[in-house]
């Protein structure tokens, strides 16, 4: 008799523990009748907010799909935000969602009713590792009966085949490498051409960098070459032992210094509509991530992007932005 009770206890334990876990999980989600629960997990290591389940078994190898979140117009949803590794922030400025702090272990629930149709970009707005700047995607709200749009998912190019790190000597090459590898490219565009939209930003799009040379008054090809040589040799162009033969050198260094400082200290993006949401993209402070020499290399890369059109400095580039 005792023996039978014991066997039943063992079988009970072996079956009831998994069963209870399953049942409790089904009941734990606070879903009201007309609400749909959407689980969104931030995976910093892959640079994705994903709809896939992230668990102990798959976290270490799986490349999680960045989520394209589809909603019906007027649908009520609960966004359940969690993190699989580090601190993230979930932000959809166009829909007024967030920024929501998502700390590992603390699940944040956002109730939302999809009131406007369209394609809206979401972001991770707290730096979360190498892939952070790719941690973006789309919320697609579709009126009933229409075919939902399918925007191209933003996936982390850094998680694709690795870039070769060039030597410190090739300053321009190193700058280009850092520009891509640090994620600058996600906001400032391929080859610094800019054009990336920043919601409610006073200038609408993130500043471009292919005209940096002109902005720091390095309009002459020879001057640019001389200046790049300084960077290449590891000489601080702001304070060289002997001033090089460059026109308006004091002005050049002043502008160069301001640009370097902006990279070091970062800058808040100003709002276009003061009552609107904060723009999602800000210039981060890089001083704790990049050395002075690396920042110079990135500047060198920008300078090298100048085409050889040797024209006078226009009024449009005398503004404050670099």
């Amino acid at each position: 008799m005792k023996e039978k009770i014991a066997v039943i206890c063992v079988l009970f334990v072996l079956s009831v523990v998994p069963g209870l876990l399953f049942v409790n999980q089904k009941m734990a989600w606070p879903s009201r009748a007309n609400e749909r629960v959407i689980n969104i997990t931030g995976v910093g290591a892959r640079g994705a907010w994903t709809l896939e389940t992230v668990n102990g078994l798959n976290y270490w190898w799986k490349s999680f799909e960045p989520a394209t979140i589809h909603m019906q117009l007027d649908e009520k949803v609960v966004l359940r935000l969690l993190s699989a590794d580090v601190f993230h922030q979930f932000y959809v400025p166009a829909l007024g969602i967030g920024p929501v702090d998502v700390e590992p272990g603390y699940i944040k629930k956002i109730r939302y009713t999809a009131e406007k149709a369209g394609v809206f970009q979401y972001y991770c707005t707290s730096m979360c590792g190498g892939c952070h700047f790719y941690m973006q995607g789309w919320i697609v709200v579709t009126p009933a009966g229409e075919k939902p749009a399918t925007p191209r998912p933003i996936s982390c190019s850094l998680c694709l085949p690795a870039f070769d790190r060039p030597s410190e000597a090739g300053a321009v090459a190193l700058g280009e490498y850092l520009y891509q590898n640090m994620g600058c490219i996600t906001c400032h565009g391929i080859a610094g051409r800019g054009g990336i939209e920043n919601f409610n930003y006073i200038k609408t799009t993130v500043p471009a960098h292919d005209r940096t040379a002109e902005k720091i008054f390095l309009t002459d090809v020879e001057d640019r070459r001389t200046f790049l040589d300084l960077i290449r040799q590891g000489i601080d162009p702001i304070d060289p032992d002997e001033p090089p033969d460059i026109d308006r050198y004091r002005l050049v260094t002043a502008r160069f210094k301001a640009a370097v400082e902006l990279i070091e200290k970062g800058k808040q993006a100003a709002r276009l509509d003061m009552t609107g949401p904060d723009p999602p993209l800000h210039m981060p402070a890089w001083q704790d991530k990049l050395s002075a020499r690396q920042i110079h290399a990135i500047m060198g890369y920008f300078i090298s992007l100048a085409t050889d059109r040797d024209h006078e400095v226009g009024a449009d580039i005398l503004g404050n932005d670099i």
Binding site: A6, V13, F87
Partner: protein, 636 residues
């Protein structure tokens, strides 16, 4: 009875220790700038701070500028209860006290007065990746009196120990001979010990937890400190095992362990009762091969697990896989080999349990040896109508040491004469290390404790990156790390130990006892020392991470549950200022017991006091150095 002579001896010994402590406190400290205000730029990155160690003088105003270079980190300053959230890419960080939220404001500097001397750690307070719970730096406020007093006391205990040895009257001295029959003193324990269902009742909850752990490890959150398998196994279980179960309950864990449960069930075909043919049930099962009938395989497996420990204790899936693997191995083996062969010869936990059980304050023993001598049935070993024969392969009636007794209490039920009992006894009462395998176990355990104290409780990010190979991918560093573990515990430390024993033998005049015997027998010095060092290592784990245990109790899989309302327990170390005041006394206690029992061992090996004392000296000095190394790591 305390004689006048003994009072004088012990007073002198106490004064020696106090003089040692005071002497080291009075030594001049390092030269530090005394401008009153000290500024530091601290950069956080996975999983270290740079600088990882800052030294100031008592009374200095400390101003810290904080930055992060990869993900969001925290910085909790012990002793000040200040907490910061550091955001990468931002110049300001959020500063406040207590749990996040109210009262936190952006700040440029963390400012505080270093008003009390000692060692304070700054720890990461925001989950920042796999090794987050071990990310820390240290603030030393000079003069570091706790550290100095600790080092001085260790030296003082060494001197005082030899003073007592040289002046003691009894040779060999009494060493832990007192016993208290627990079953007679507390009849309810006796009643419980004789219940056949006791072991099953203890294993069953463990089994339920085990199932939960496996599921949580595989399908729960990949974040270690948010998954019950990590917090309950590596924080709670480990802490309880080392500080409570092992020293006070011997191998009581082995009674409740679910690993061999299925194997034992299939062998016995009973969960509670006894089969009538209990005495013959081992027919058909193989004996464990003689060549492996030692704990070497356990030593190697243990070192193997230690090598990957930084991965094991931070990734739920690894822990779950290892736990499951151990259960499967135990089950498969028990289909072939007799009884608890897995536990005796393979289980990596069992190895150090067997060693440190020698120090435990309880034992299962025969009450009266004469009864066992004339006993014909030998039921305790072979089984009988009321119980199984010892599953550990011991002959309980003649048990002398705790090492291979799994505390299943089967012999108490089996003995037809009621001659088996549980005794309460002094700390470290078994002193006989019998094999080289056991001696090496003692050396391995101390070496690994040192390596862990550097890796997990230390501030060196490089070492953490080496150990954390599955995330960092630095295989060269990992090889260095693995090499250090294996070479230190199988080469360097045994080498030092051997040299110490050889030197001791020379000092004693080289008669009678060979070095190998000394190497083995003196290895017992490392048992009290090792056990207390592991306890000292384990206290910070629970004092820092207790909140994760509460949180995962309510949310075992990291799925957002809140079963008991504790899921959102905020992380905050528990009395971190007390840490060194627990660790240093523990280490000193271990050293004192090492010397005390060491002298008893030496006196039993050598003729005469002089030879015994001299032969012990080098090993005692090595032990003191090891204790000082631990004090340096924990408090210096």
């Amino acid at each position: 009875m305390p004689t006048a002579r003994n009072i004088t001896r012990w007073t002198a010994a106490l004064l020696t220790v106090l003089a040692g402590a005071a002497g080291f406190c009075l030594l001049p400290g390092p030269d530090l700038p005394d401008d009153g205000v000290r500024r530091f730029d601290i950069k956080a990155e996975q999983y270290a701070y740079h600088p990882s160690r800052i030294v100031v003088r008592r009374g200095d105003e400390v101003r810290l500028r904080l930055a992060s270079s990869d993900v969001v980190h925290g910085l909790y300053m012990e002793g000040q209860d200040l907490n910061a959230f550091i955001y990468p890419g931002r110049l300001l960080f959020n500063l406040g006290r207590g749990a996040a939220g109210a009262g936190y404001a952006p700040a440029e500097e963390m400012v505080f007065q270093a008003d009390r001397c000692g060692k304070y750690r700054y720890r990461c307070s925001v989950t920042c990746g796999t090794l987050h719970p071990f990310m820390q730096g240290e603030l030393i406020v000079e003069p570091n009196y706790p550290f100095r007093a600790g080092i001085g006391s260790a030296a003082g205990i060494l001197l005082a120990g030899f003073l007592l040895m040289a002046t003691g009257k009894r040779i060999p001295p009494a060493a832990g001979k007192r016993r208290l029959d627990l079953l007679r003193a507390a009849p309810p324990i006796g009643w419980l010990a004789r219940r056949r269902w006791l072991q099953f009742a203890l294993v069953l909850p463990g089994l339920a937890l085990f199932v939960l752990f496996i599921i949580a490890g595989f399908w729960g959150s990949p974040i270690g400190n948010r998954n019950i398998v990590i917090t309950f196994v590596w924080i709670l279980w480990w802490f309880l095992l080392i500080t409570v179960l092992l020293p006070f309950g011997s191998r009581i864990w082995c009674m409740a362990c679910p690993f061999p449960f299925f194997g034992e069930w299939f062998q016995r075909r009973r969960l509670i009762g006894v089969r009538p043919d209990a005495r013959r049930m081992w027919r058909g099962y193989k004996k464990w091969p003689g060549r492996f009938s030692n704990i070497w395989v356990q030593n190697i497996l243990f070192l193997g697990l230690c090598t990957i420990s930084a991965i094991l204790v931070t990734r739920p899936v690894t822990t779950a896989a290892v736990l499951l693997g151990l259960v499967l191995t135990a089950t498969v083996l028990s289909a072939v080999f007799r009884q608890r062969s897995f536990c005796n010869y393979l289980c990596p936990v069992s190895g150090f349990l067997s060693l440190y059980a020698m120090a435990a304050m309880v034992e299962v023993r025969a009450k009266d040896a004469a009864v066992c001598r004339v006993c014909r049935s030998k039921s305790c070993a072979a089984g009988g109508p009321s119980g199984w024969g010892c599953p550990w392969g011991c002959h309980p009636g003649r048990l002398e040491r705790n090492n291979y007794c799994g505390m299943c209490l089967e012999c108490i039920k089996t003995c037809p004469n009621g001659n088996m009992t549980i005794n309460l006894r002094p700390f470290c009462a078994d002193t006989r290390i019998k094999g080289t395998d056991e001696a090496f176990k003692a050396l391995i355990m101390v070496s690994v404790a040192l390596v862990y104290s550097v890796t997990l409780l230390g501030t060196w990010g490089t070492v953490k990156s080496w150990a954390n190979v599955s995330e960092v991918g630095d295989w060269q560093g990992f090889l260095i790390y693995a090499g250090i573990i294996w070479i230190a515990s199988l080469g360097i430390f045994p080498g030092i130990w051997f040299s110490a024993c050889a030197a001791g033998r020379r000092l004693a005049g080289s008669h009678g006892v060979d070095v190998k015997t000394l190497f083995r027998r003196y290895a017992f010095l490392l048992v009290p020392l090792g056990l207390t060092a592991w306890a000292a290592f384990s206290f910070p784990l629970i004092m820092v991470n207790w909140s994760y245990i509460l949180a995962t109790a309510s949310d075992p899989l990291g799925w957002g549950w809140n079963l008991f309302g504790t899921a959102n327990t905020a992380w905050k170390p528990l009395y971190p200022g007390l840490m060194v005041y627990i660790q240093i006394p523990l280490l000193l206690l271990g050293l004192a017991f090492s010397l005390k029992r060491g002298y008893a061992i030496a006196a039993s090996l050598w003729e005469g006091r002089k030879a015994a004392v001299l032969s012990l000296a080098p090993a005692a000095i090595v032990c003191t150095a090891v204790v000082m190394a631990f004090i340096k790591l924990f408090a210096g």
